[in-house]
C-alpha cells in the first residue's frame, strides 16, 4: 500500500524549547481517512500545519520527515516545497467565516489556486469552478460565483471551501475541525459531502477533530494524541469497541451520548491523567538520552 502522506518521527517544539509534538508518526494511503483526535492543546492541528508548512512562527520542526506522495518535503528547497505542497495538498479550514476573503467574490477565490499554482487559463479555471460547485450540490453555481461570502449561509460557505480544496485534484486533504462551527443538522450534510468527495476523488484525508462522534462517522483509522504524543493508533471499529490505552477509554466514557445519559460524561480519572503524563515524561527522557 503506498502512502500519500507519511510522517516519520516528527518532533516539533516552541522556539523556547517546549515540545509540542513528540515523535509523531503516521501513514495515510490513497482513499483512506485518518483521524487525529485529542483535547485542545494536544497538538493535533499542528500536524496538519506542519505538513502544509503553515506553522506559527514561534514553532519549529526539530527532527523528523514528512513524505508527500513519495517526495521528502524536507529535502526540497523552500520555493519548490511550497509548490509541491500547493499542488498536492489542500486544507478544509475550521471557520468558514474567516477562511474566505469578505471583500472578494467567490469565483476568483476558488480559481486563484488553479491560475496561480497550476498555471491554468482563467476561462478553464472558471469552468472547473462551476463544475466543482455542482459537485458539492450548490444550486445555481453561476450566481454563487458572483456572490460575496456574506451573502451565503455558513453551510454554503463550507461547501465552497470544500469545492475549492478539491479544485486542484490534490492527493491529500487536511480537514481541520471542518464542522465545529456548524449546527448538527448542517454538520451531517457537510460530513457526508466530505466523504462523498473524498471517495470520488480517491484522495487521502487527514481529519482533525476533538469530537469522537464525528470520528466514528468519518474515519477508517485514527491516532489519539495527548500532549503531542500519539498514545494510541487504531482502526476505527476496534478503537470504539476495544480501546487499548486507558486514556482513550476514559475519553470515550467522557463523551456525552444522549442514548446513554448515565454511562457517558464520566470525568477522566486523575489516575489516568497522571499515568499518561508519566508516559509522556518517560518519552522525553528517552529522547534526550
Amino acid at each position: 500500500m503506498n502512502s500519500f502522506l507519511e510522517v516519520r518521527n516528527l518532533n516539533l517544539s516552541l522556539k523556547a524549547g517546549m515540545p509540542i509534538l513528540r515523535s509523531v508518526s503516521l501513514n495515510v494511503a490513497a482513499g483512506q481517512v485518518h483521524g487525529l483526535v485529542g483535547e485542545s492543546g494536544a497538538g493535533k492541528s499542528m500536524i496538519g500545519k506542519a505538513v502544509l508548512g503553515t506553522l506559527p512562527r514561534a514553532l519549529q520542526v526539530t527532527s523528523g520527515e514528512i513524505w508527500l506522495d513519495g517526495v521528502n518535503l524536507n529535502s526540497l528547497p523552500t520555493a519548490e516545497r511550497r509548490k509541491t505542497i500547493g499542488a498536492k495538498a489542500a486544507l478544509i479550514p475550521q471557520d468558514p467565516l474567516t477562511a474566505l476573503n469578505p471583500s472578494k467574490r467567490i469565483g476568483p477565490q476558488i480559481t486563484r489556486r488553479l491560475v496561480d499554482i497550476l498555471g491554468w487559463q482563467k476561462s478553464d479555471a472558471e469552468a472547473r469552478a462551476v463544475e466543482l460547485l455542482h459537485e458539492v450540490h450548490i444550486p445555481d453555481p453561476a450566481r454563487v460565483m458572483k456572490s460575496y461570502p456574506h451573502e451565503l449561509s455558513g453551510g454554503m460557505r463550507q461547501r465552497i471551501l470544500i469545492a475549492s480544496a478539491f479544485a486542484a485534484e490534490p492527493k491529500l486533504i487536511i480537514a481541520d475541525e471542518p464542522t465545529t462551527a456548524l449546527d448538527v443538522t448542517v454538520q451531517k450534510q457537510i460530513l457526508r459531502l466530505i466523504a462523498e468527495m473524498q471517495q470520488r476523488h480517491d484522495t487521502a484525508l487527514l481529519f482533525v477533530t476533538h469530537d469522537l462522534g464525528v470520528v466514528s462517522k468519518t474515519c477508517d483509522t485514527l491516532s489519539v494524541l495527548y500532549a503531542g504524543k500519539v498514545i494510541e493508533e487504531a482502526r476505527m471499529r476496534r478503537f470504539f469497541t476495544r480501546p487499548i490505552h486507558p486514556y482513550s477509554a476514559a475519553l470515550l466514557k467522557a463523551t456525552p451520548t444522549y442514548t446513554n445519559p448515565r454511562g457517558s460524561l464520566t470525568p477522566v480519572p486523575q489516575s489516568v491523567i497522571d499515568a499518561t503524563e508519566r508516559e509522556v515524561r518517560e518519552h522525553d527522557m528517552r529522547a534526550s538520552r
Binding site: 523556547a16 517546549m18 509540542i20 483535547e39 492543546g41 494536544a42 500532549a227
Partner: protein
C-alpha cells in the same frame, strides 16, 4: 492540560529602558537647567557668533555645542528649551487625553444619543484643517504658553475620542460587562470599574504618543514664529533660526533637531513599551 502560553515570559524591552532613560535625562535637564547650563541662554556675544562645537577646529572653550549667529550658547538653549517642551508635553498631553478619553468612553459605552452627539461633533471637528485652525486660534488669543496648550488640546482631542470610543465599544460587547449588569452594578459604575481598566493600556499608549505630538506641534508653531516670545529658547525656534544659516553653521540646526527627534521617538516607544509591560493579559 496546562496552557503553554502561560509559560512564556516577556523580557523587559530595551526600548522601554532606552526611551525611559532619555526622557529621565531630559526631565533632569529641564529641572536643573539653571544649575547645569554653562551659559545664560539669552546672553548674546556678537564677537562669538557661529562658533563650531568643541571637536571642530576654531571652537571656543566653554561652548560645547557651539554658538548661534548672535553668539548664544546652543547647549544652554537646548537645556532651557527642554523646560518648555516638557511642560507642553505634560500639560497639553494630559489635558487632551483627559477630554478625548472621557468623551470617547462615554460615547463608546453608553452608545445611543450621547454617542450620536459626540460622534457627529468629532466628525465636524475633524473636517477643519488642524494647522490652520491652530494658527487662527493663536492669532486670536495671542502667542504664549497657554495659547499653545489650548491649541494642541483643541486640535488633538478627537484622536483620543475616536480610538477610545472604538475600544470601549468592543469591550462593552464582552460578557463581563453583561455579568456586571447581572450582578446589579450601575451603568456608570460598570464604565469606571469594568471598561476603564481594560482601555487603560490603550489610553497610556496614546497619551505618551500625544506627548510626542505635542512637542512636535509646539516646534512647528515656533518654527512659524507663533509660539512663545522669541526671548525664551524653544527647540522649534532654534530650528527656525538654524535653518537660515545652515551652510555656515550647521550645528545650530542639527543639535536641536536631534534632541527633538530623540524626544518624540522616546515618547512613542515608551508608550508601546509600557503597554506591553503592564498589560496582565497575554494577547
Amino acid at each position: 492540560m496546562r496552557d503553554a502560553r502561560g509559560d512564556v515570559t516577556r523580557p523587559i524591552g530595551a526600548r522601554l529602558w532606552l526611551s525611559g532613560a532619555w526622557l529621565a535625562l531630559l526631565v533632569l535637564a529641564a529641572l536643573c537647567a539653571p544649575l547645569i547650563a554653562p551659559k545664560d541662554p539669552l546672553m548674546q556675544d556678537l564677537f562669538l557668533g557661529r562658533m563650531p562645537p568643541f571637536w571642530v577646529t576654531g571652537a571656543e572653550p566653554g561652548y560645547l555645542l557651539g554658538t548661534d549667529s548672535l553668539g548664544r550658547d546652543v547647549l544652554s538653549r537646548i537645556l532651557y528649551g527642554a523646560r518648555l517642551a516638557l511642560i507642553v508635553a505634560l500639560v497639553a498631553g494630559s489635558l487632551t487625553c483627559f477630554i478625548g478619553a472621557t468623551l470617547g468612553l462615554i460615547a463608546g459605552y453608553y452608545r445611543g444619543w450621547p454617542d450620536r452627539i459626540i460622534s457627529r461633533f468629532v466628525d465636524i471637528w475633524m473636517a477643519f484643517p488642524p494647522v490652520l485652525f491652530a494658527i487662527l486660534l493663536i492669532a486670536v488669543m495671542g502667542p504664549g504658553l497657554v495659547s499653545i496648550i489650548i491649541a494642541i488640546v483643541v486640535i488633538d482631542w478627537t484622536r483620543f475620542a475616536r480610538v477610545i470610543r472604538a475600544e470601549a465599544m468592543s469591550q462593552g460587547a464582552m460578557d463581563y460587562v453583561a455579568s456586571a449588569q447581572v450582578a446589579g452594578r450601575t451603568r456608570f459604575g460598570t464604565m469606571l470599574t469594568e471598561i476603564l481598566p481594560n482601555v487603560l493600556p490603550t489610553i497610556v499608549a496614546l497619551l505618551t504618543l500625544e506627548m510626542g505630538i505635542a512637542v512636535i506641534i509646539e516646534a512647528i508653531l515656533s518654527f512659524v514664529n507663533l509660539s512663545i516670545s522669541t526671548d525664551s529658547p524653544t527647540w522649534g525656534g532654534m530650528i527656525a533660526e538654524g535653518r537660515t544659516s545652515v551652510h555656515q553653521a550647521w550645528w545650530v540646526l542639527v543639535f536641536p533637531l536631534i534632541t527633538l527627534f530623540l524626544t518624540v521617538l522616546s515618547f512613542s516607544q515608551l508608550g508601546e513599551g509600557l503597554k506591553d509591560r503592564f498589560d496582565p493579559v497575554l494577547r
